[in-house]
Symmetry: D2
Subunit: 277 residues, 4 copies
């Protein structure tokens, strides 16, 4: 049910992380190890900050592993901050408007997981949107509605607080419909300056989430690794599942935790708890 990654650091060619990592996101589209599904072949999406105004978005219904345009873009676009997502659809159609990340102004948003029995909750959740945002829903995924709920609840002022309020609303709506286990998953957000990520599930274990360790520590562990030697203290990755099996390179984010990554490689964690509506 999807895999995603986010990079904040020195400007890199996107292919370095999408294609040239041992178990990068494109490999995960075909051979995910920790996901609910092995295959994430129901479309690809990527958003990056760089040239032009605001983030660019590329959404494709082709599986990531076979998309010629994706390979081209990845090989020619450099960015200091980008997010990518491979999708395993669970019900909603494979169409560009259902590909992550979703965007509004400077903001990008993506998700791995689901809102339980979304069809049952969809109407009430869409009614809970700021009416101005209602016509901005172009696809049919749960994630797009979650994003616009978060915008409704102040994502642009306080990303983590807004997500706590948003998931609180979703859990309340689910309760009122007798739906169990409303929220499952991990969420990624950026405004072009920082990254935020959340790992949370109403019940059960949430989907996996990892952050790369401090560059200095990684370099110390793997002094012969050329690639790691090219890294700078600014570089951080947040991923659904690690790009490699190397011990010490990846730290699992605990359940019910929110992460903030700021320029300079700063990574902060805090407890995450949906706010009562």
């Amino acid at each position: 049910m999807c895999r995603w990654m986010a990079w904040l650091g020195q400007p890199v060619l996107i292919e370095e992380l999408l294609f040239d990592s041992p178990h990068g996101i494109v490999d995960q589209s075909l051979h995910s190890r920790m996901g609910a599904e092995t295959t994430n072949g129901d479309g690809f999406g990527m958003g990056w900050y760089g040239g032009g105004d605001g983030p660019a978005v590329y959404h494709s219904v082709a599986p990531a592993w076979g998309d010629a345009n994706l390979r081209e873009l990845a090989a020619h676009v450099e960015s200091p901050l980008f997010l990518a997502h491979v999708r395993a659809a669970i019900g909603s159609p494979v169409q560009q408007t259902n590909c992550h990340p979703f965007r509004r102004d400077n903001w990008l948003f993506l998700h791995n997981g689901y809102i339980a029995e979304f069809a049952k909750l969809r109407r009430d959740l869409m009614l809970a949107l700021d009416p101005e945002l209602f016509p901005e829903i172009h696809g049919s995924t749960d994630t797009e509605v979650v994003f616009h709920l978060a915008l409704t609840h102040g994502l642009e002022q306080d990303p983590i607080g807004a997500l706590e309020r948003t998931l609180g609303v979703i859990e309340a709506v689910a309760d009122s419909h007798g739906v169990q286990g409303a929220v499952q998953g991990t969420f990624g957000v950026s405004d072009g300056e920082s990254l935020w990520a959340v790992r949370y599930a109403t019940i059960d274990r949430p989907r996996t989430l990892f952050a790369s360790a401090e560059v200095e520590a990684i370099q110390h562990l793997y002094p012969e690794n050329e690639r790691f030697q090219r890294a700078t203290p600014d570089d951080r990755l947040i991923v659904s599942e690690p790009f490699s099996d190397l011990p010490g390179v990846w730290h699992e984010i605990a359940e019910s935790t929110a992460v903030t990554v700021r320029r300079g490689g700063v990574l902060e964690q805090q407890p995450f708890r949906p706010a009562a509506a």
Copy 2:
């Protein structure tokens, strides 16, 4: 802003009407003469009654003139009742879930025209849906919402009455938002037995709509025309614009008129007036 056609009559290979008519719907996708746009290249859709349960639907984002699969289907599927639509998008994305005809159970629905300032009205119109139908909206067109409003208002019991109530609701919602000229266009509906079509605009001239004349009259006019000689009294076509320039073959449907076509070539007309909400 789209062209459509509907056939009710003897079973025919679909290509006969899509490709082998002088100015059939595929030709209209590239060279519409009466439409708001010359080019209707933003996807194709077709629904037909025949094998299997209920109508089949084929939706494609490729322009009709270049879609290899459409050519195959048209050359190999025979049907006594089918509807086809070429789209010129006005705002909403080119995706299969935005292609007409829309379907529910045995019912097919298509539209040429628009709901004015739909983004502004969308929330209120979706709130007016039977809540059970809310999660059935998979795309982002005005037409899909109109169809589900019509289902909400009894399309399956009384198609024309339901459309009068539906357009009444839309006009009332538009009024409440200060939107002028709420409804523009023509609508086509089928349940697999009969066809219904409506031509209506709140203000100004509605999009064009034509019905084929009685087969006997056509045969009398064109005794040498082999194709017309193959026609049977059962055959009727409803089209956005005529497939040929032959005088006497096509009758324009008057504004504010609803048409019913029943098996046996029966065509009835009646005034159409949106019902006050």
Copy 3:
């Protein structure tokens, strides 16, 4: 590297074999057990005999598991003879012209496997085509060239003999380029009346191939199975891998064997040996 199936028997709704079999071809697109790859998500193709002239072909670049149009067609098209194919591309692009089955006049052709180092051999193999057939190559797969070589060598008069001559030519061309293990795979052919299939590899074990057992024997083994009780003695399936684990239902085709299936459930086997050029 692809999975395929072919049906010859009573007319059936295509979905019965594509979707409603426990491990049918669409399930194999996502979870192949015996294929070189688990995922066969690089396009789908299907050819069927039924309405209209000659076979119809549907080719899609969407993975079979998520293709809404495929589900529609499968649920509404009935055929007594059809072939379907899920593709795992190995180098050539994901495009409709690379989807199997390939067609010429009444003939359909599909393949699981490869011609080794095809890029190196492609020019010589295309030069070996009947020059009239050269412009009929629209894609870039090895299979399309093999098919046209087989047509060059008399496929329409003697399918198995033509394939023996064709593979003989390919092995000779490969030898002249120092390419080892020229041919790998299974091939399926139909003219709308009969089915032919070949299992062969120049070296190593060829890809798997199975035929369904005689219906009477299957019914005897599984007297409670409703579906098998609906089968008629006419029904035969040829498949890359079995649709179920039921003992006695599937017979593996031996290596270097050609199979002929004729109406009436007749299945004949014979040794297959490429003919020296």
Copy 4:
């Protein structure tokens, strides 16, 4: 039968020329005035020099006017040298491998027009390719073969001379098959440093081709035009048809002429004549 453009000059956001020009290439995809067809909706292609190694290529089967990814790329990619192409297919399939520009190493190549009766000539023309290049033909257009013939004849050393030899070969092959009017069209080429363009037809008038005038002259003519005031003496455009009706801004390239554009806004013209084989 296609429209194209090429930019060499100061780095610009691609959208400025694709979307924000009054009659830019995307407008031409829907409303070409001088092309053989009004609609060029059978795919889009673009190649640009910038980040990463060599040119990037984006090929899409969606019509340019409705391609959301194209709009994104155009709004976020800046380049000092790029080529774009909208396609009206005449026989060959709408697929990414048939979209221009074609690429090899640093070279991009595109074309408006046709090789007459290409199916008849295709085999001989492909035999005339450097055998090393034969497997590089991935699509089925005449243009891709012309490009590889030009590479065979020294495009990388002497672009215009190579094109003269290439068209000479094509005309000779056509003669040997009794095909009249072998070559029709305009060709555009770049190596990332310079641009070359050719306007030529064996018989009849070739497709149109225009170059933008010297920036200083344009600025003198339109002192109030803000956009022109932002232009630098480096800027040159080569286009199938002008982006505007402004007198003095566009110069028609004469028939049988080759154009070279070098950095610094240098534009040179020379007679173009196919070389006898």
